[in-house]
């Protein structure tokens, strides 16, 4: 009992003693430990480095300094709750937890606390319907777009006809991995291919039986919804059974450099869907190198610049910074609150000219957010890995996804959520 009292007293003292230092607070619920750290580290680095760049180069956003508070979740929902509760009192503007499980938990909580959630390319897909999910944003693309984009790529490879083909989906057996199944089932029905869903349990280090099944059933294509250590293992296993890599397509979370690198040259030809450009050939990365890495202010070791997941972190931070500017403009004050941030996100407009101005011309799509559509345009492209050069390259144009299949699913799922939680859908 004594231990508990000391603990309680110290925690209490620490909580009182943590002052709010800056005006714009961005909590980063990161995970730098555990089986998902391989993806969590570059993303957290990118997210934080971009904000550091804005602080160093521009003196914050609209004159207000930015503070990034990191909290380690380990991709674990219980720690996610602790992190959310410990950071929300410090003026958090927006949460980006990079975990579909934690997102599901935070959706009702953050909505009740009037704090927006930003879940680019993950989280609950039907949150694209802003009429039901007032505080959740998942622009510019979501899981169901990814599923459709992957199938579109397979269609393009087969001259528009997938009739009689077989596709296996290797997925992380969690909310994250299960999200695309419904869309893929819809697409399978529409295009006449056969879908086999093969689950891989957390953390995904053991996949022998799954790949044995693939070797036996010989599907024409394999799609993957993996994260963390599961990706590396899957790509290695695919190489071991000599599955043709160009017929293996991952979602964007299975398209990191660290996922393919361990398999060496045998991973060459592996493809992944992406919703933004690849490589470090953008002026913004030179600025990060100059203002953040070289001054020793980088969040990590500074060696992740230009890698796929790092770029995604930078991209997410950039969109959030733009939303802050928008909110400052709407409300006429540099010190915005979480509620103002939500307004800024809902009125966000990204143009090609603005992207070029930020040193990210052509990095992502131009789009605007509205109350009806929190999901953005849902465009994406296919990237392919070159094991010898160690780089990703885009092998297709950024294209749209099959909204005829996706939109009814979004409407149905969000309507189910609204009914379960007595939410009156609508824009105000």
């Amino acid at each position: 009992m004594n231990m508990k009292k000391i603990a309680a007293a110290s925690v209490a003292a620490l909580m009182v003693g943590t002052p709010v230092l800056a005006d714009l607070v961005f909590p980063s619920l990161s995970y730098r430990t555990g089986p998902y750290a391989a993806g969590g580290i570059p993303y957290a680095d990118g997210y934080s480095d971009y904000f550091t760049l804005l602080n160093e180069r521009d003196g914050g956003i609209g004159g207000a300094a930015i503070q990034v508070i990191e909290c380690e979740t380990g991709y674990n929902t219980e720690k996610g709750v602790e992190c959310y509760e410990s950071t929300k009192g410090q003026g958090a503007l927006v949460y980006n937890p990079l975990s579909t499980g934690i997102t599901y938990q935070l959706i009702p909580k953050a909505t009740a606390d009037n704090i927006p959630l930003y879940t680019p390319g993950y989280g609950r897909t039907s949150a694209a319907n802003g009429k039901v999910f007032s505080h959740v944003f998942n622009f510019p693309a979501n899981y169901w777009n990814a599923a459709s984009l992957a199938v579109n790529h397979l269609l393009a490879e087969n001259g528009g006809d997938l009739n009689g083909k077989s596709v296996a989906l290797v997925y992380h057996n969690s909310a994250y991995g299960k999200e695309p199944i419904r869309t893929l089932e819809g697409l399978a029905e529409k295009h006449g291919f056969k879908l086999t869903a093969i689950p891989v349990d957390h953390p995904g280090q053991e996949q022998k039986s799954q790949w044995l099944q693939i070797r036996r059933e010989k599907p024409d294509y394999v799609l993957m919804w993996g994260w963390g250590v599961m990706n590396q293992v899957a790509i290695q296993e695919a190489a071991n059974i000599r599955f043709p890599m160009e017929n293996f397509v991952g979602v964007w979370w299975s398209g990191g450099d660290h996922d393919v690198a361990p398999a060496g040259e045998s991973a060459t030809g592996y493809k992944a869907v992406t919703f933004h450009a690849v490589g470090s050939d953008f002026p913004v990365f030179d600025d990060i190198q100059k203002h953040v890495v070289e001054t020793g202010k980088a969040a990590g070791a500074g060696d992740n610049i230009g890698k796929a997941i790092y770029n995604r972190g930078v991209y997410a931070a950039m969109l959030m910074a733009e939303a802050v500017s928008k909110a400052q403009e709407i409300h006429g004050t540099p010190d915005i609150t979480a509620a103002m941030m939500r307004d800024g996100m809902e009125a966000l407009e990204i143009t090609d000219a603005r992207m070029a101005e930020l040193g990210m011309g052509g990095f992502g799509p131009a789009f605007s957010v509205s109350c009806e559509n929190h999901g953005g345009p849902g465009t994406g492209a296919i990237q392919q890995w070159d094991g010898a050069a160690g780089t990703w390259s885009l092998i297709s144009e950024f294209g749209g996804s099959d909204m005829d299949v996706i939109q009814p699913l979004i409407d149905a799922d969000s309507a189910a959520y609204a009914a379960e939680n007595n939410i009156e859908a609508g824009c105000n």
Binding site: S10, V11, S30, G101, Y104, Q105
Partner: protein, 358 residues
């Protein structure tokens, strides 16, 4: 000086066999009760409720449940996570099927359903013991997690397999969902903890508990003196699963609000709760609380000291947490193999003899 029997005269058998025979202990117990019920609800905030108090109370219930089975009845179980999942999914199905019914009823019914499932998986315990039984309960753990992943009816056919707790009330007070006040969450869990701990204490010192302990100590001898092993083992499984089921229901509905079975109720949860009772003390009510407090509060405390206080990087702090908590477990178990409860018991013995300990 204060902590002694002298002058505390008992005039009835009832008084002689009460839980806290010393006046000082009784006063301590009532002080804790008064503080927990009348002070804490007025000062608790969201952080303290969600990060400290509610998880501690819920894990304490789960540890009590496993302690009844493993500590008192001697049946090793690695299926705690699976049984918590049964409680959580039963609670979810009841909440969505009968929205107007009070949460109190749902949680108790969820415990009841888990008790039935627990009895079913407890049947092998009649033939197998020790490590073999551990493997059988491990099978229960994996089977239950697989079941809740596989059958969409359990998660109401949601796209992601997640279950979400909708808003439900007790006597008009919201206790689940995002609009719950911190004190409501805390009090709801606290009431369950107090009632269940009271039941556990009285069961274990009565005839039922003595039968369990007889089975634990030597089952053949127990049978010879007239203990029915079928009844004793199955009641232990039923009561234990009832507790664990309630913990699972609260864990999902009050604490997390949304859960997926593999992540929230996986094998690591079974191990965590087993560690709680081993560190706290097998066969001790206080041990269940001490173990739960150690395993829940220590990481939160360390995180706050290392990251909040010293400003260390979060990954370094997270790794150090493992090292420190792991090291402390080893140290505690070397110093006292019977857990924190035995340490507490020895302290009390020493205090009684103070200032002349031997």
């Amino acid at each position: 000086m204060l902590y002694r029997e002298a002058g505390d005269f008992k005039t009835s058998y009832q008084k002689d066999s009460q839980t806290f025979p010393l006046k000082f202990d009784r006063m301590g117990y009532w002080t804790v009760m008064v503080v927990a019920f009348l002070v804490v609800p007025f000062v608790i905030n969201d952080y303290w409720a969600n990060a400290v108090a509610v998880p501690f109370l819920i894990y304490a219930i789960a540890a009590l449940g496993l302690n009844i089975l493993t500590g008192y009845a001697g049946q090793v179980s690695l299926g705690t996570g699976g049984f918590m999942a049964v409680g959580a999914y039963a609670c979810y199905k009841l909440m969505t099927m009968f929205p107007e019914v009070s949460m109190l009823v749902h949680v108790v019914l969820a415990g009841g359903i888990t008790a039935l499932v627990g009895v079913l998986f407890g049947l092998p315990s009649l033939r197998i013991k020790g490590f073999y039984l551990a493997v059988a309960t491990l099978a229960a753990q994996f089977f239950l997690v697989w079941l809740f992943n596989k059958v969409p009816w359990f998660y109401n056919y949601s796209a992601s397999g997640q279950i979400n707790a909708p808003e439900r009330t007790v006597f008009g007070i919201i206790v689940t969902g995002p609009n719950t006040e911190a004190w409501a969450k805390y009090l709801f869990c606290l009431i369950f903890v107090v009632v269940l701990a009271w039941i556990a204490r009285n069961l274990t010192r009565g005839m039922t508990g003595r039968k369990w302990m007889a089975i634990r100590d030597m089952d053949i001898a127990a049978e010879i003196i007239g203990v029915n092993p079928l009844m004793a083992k199955l009641t232990a499984f039923a009561v234990s699963s009832f507790f664990v089921g309630i913990a699972g229901a609260l864990f999902f509905s009050i604490y997390l609000g949304a859960a997926e079975v593999g992540e929230a109720f996986g094998i690591q949860k079974s191990f965590l709760i087993l560690f709680m009772i081993i560190i706290g003390g097998l066969g001790s009510i206080f041990g269940s609380f001490a173990g739960a407090a150690f395993m829940v509060l220590m990481p939160v405390f360390l995180k706050n000291v290392l990251v909040g206080g010293l400003g260390w990087p979060t990954d370094l702090a997270a790794h150090l947490e493992f090292i420190i908590v792991g090291g402390l477990i080893v140290v505690f178990l070397i110093l006292e193999p019977h857990g924190l409860a035995q340490l507490w018991r020895l302290t009390k013995e020493k205090l009684r003899l103070w200032p002349f300990p031997h």
